[in-house]
Subunit: 219 residues, 2 copies
């Protein structure tokens, strides 16, 4: 079932964007921003922003706007970016390697502790000083290391079995790149990046005009 | 502003999932499925599925359910997967390479025609027989080749400039992996994969219980 969020998901999904915009403003030395300005930049209404933030206590004042640094720091805390996280990657194929090499995550506090694969030819190879290990060692590794997030980058046929193993070994958060909807218990957080779903959305939209025109004509 | 979809985005985003599930059913030789069964599998209500599909004409019948193959084929057509698409990748870093190597897209009809990068050391190298080219040759390449989708895998600092170049050269669809909200004209379709936003959603959710508990206690 995966864990249910308390605040609605669409709200939660806007938070990283707010954070990105505020980081940009901070870089450009902007001290204050009105909710109207912020909303124009972000393409959401000012009341939407206020409502979203109200889930976490009130910020800013009417007619004064937001203190950029304060709001940025608050969002950093809300997003849990004032902490660090230990991660492992399961699957050292192209995508797993790409994510392992993406040092931006490291800078934000997500520290890669292990990479696992099924392919013996990869064992012992290193990505950014982290050795690729035999996935058979996974449970042993997890019993000795506190890991917060498992990043799943394996073909879909094995991903449910792997998710089950991870959950059994105590993992509470899975970042899933396999093109499948995993089944995990209620206390496990599942976040999916379905690349092919995203690409199919694009091909759909390339055809939508014609598709719906045809439908109207068929009537 | 990017192009506005006719059907609401949340509906569109469910279509690839329906397609995935039906593909699975088809593989398992399931011929018919009731809307109730399908909805249980997918974790959405039966009326939601009916409503979603009604945007594209009616399917299935009360008490009979859906013909799996028929509905699968219809969704294939709705998603534009009965056509093929030419794509290019801008940015041959880890992520660009991972996507270039992901042959599943090719199988669904997305054909990679070119890879571009700014780094001279990569020029001439090949990924799956496709040469990495100097991004300075982009406009020339686009004037000679009909490309449907540009896949943007470059650092955020250059991505708006690159998006502008792509749009000017006639690209009508951008699949953006840069962690930035690009500004494109109304007739250009923009689909984002914001990996870090997704990861931040995960770190948020790892802390939500405590975060909202603190908020209540502060009151």
């Amino acid at each position: 079932m995966t864990k249910k969020p308390i605040v609605p998901m669409p709200v939660i999904r806007r938070l990283p964007r707010y954070h990105r915009y505020l980081e940009e403003l901070l870089k450009n030395d902007v001290k204050r921003i009105s909710s109207r300005e912020l909303s124009e930049k972000m393409g959401v209404t000012a009341s939407q922003i206020r409502q979203d933030l109200n889930n976490y206590g009130g910020f800013g004042q009417q007619g004064y706007g937001y203190n950029v640094e304060e709001l940025y720091n608050t969002l950093t805390r809300i997003l849990g970016l004032d902490k660090t996280y230990s991660t492992i990657i399961i699957g050292a194929g192209n995508l797993g390697q790409a994510i392992a090499n993406y040092t931006n995550f490291e800078r934000t506090g997500f520290n890669l502790k292990g990479i696992f694969d099924i392919n013996p030819r990869l064992f012992g190879l290193k990505i950014r000083d982290i050795e690729i290990m035999d996935v058979e060692l996974l449970e042993d590794f997890l019993s000795k290391n506190k890991i917060d997030i498992a990043i799943l980058c394996i073909p879909k046929d094995n991903s449910q079995i792997m998710a089950d193993r991870l959950v059994k070994a105590g993992i509470k958060a899975i970042w899933n790149f396999s093109p499948i909807d995993l089944d995990v218990p209620d206390d496990v957080i599942l976040e999916n990046v379905h690349l092919s779903d995203s690409l199919l959305t694009l091909s759909y939209r390339l055809n939508e005009d014609k598709l719906l025109k045809n439908k109207v004509e068929e009537k």
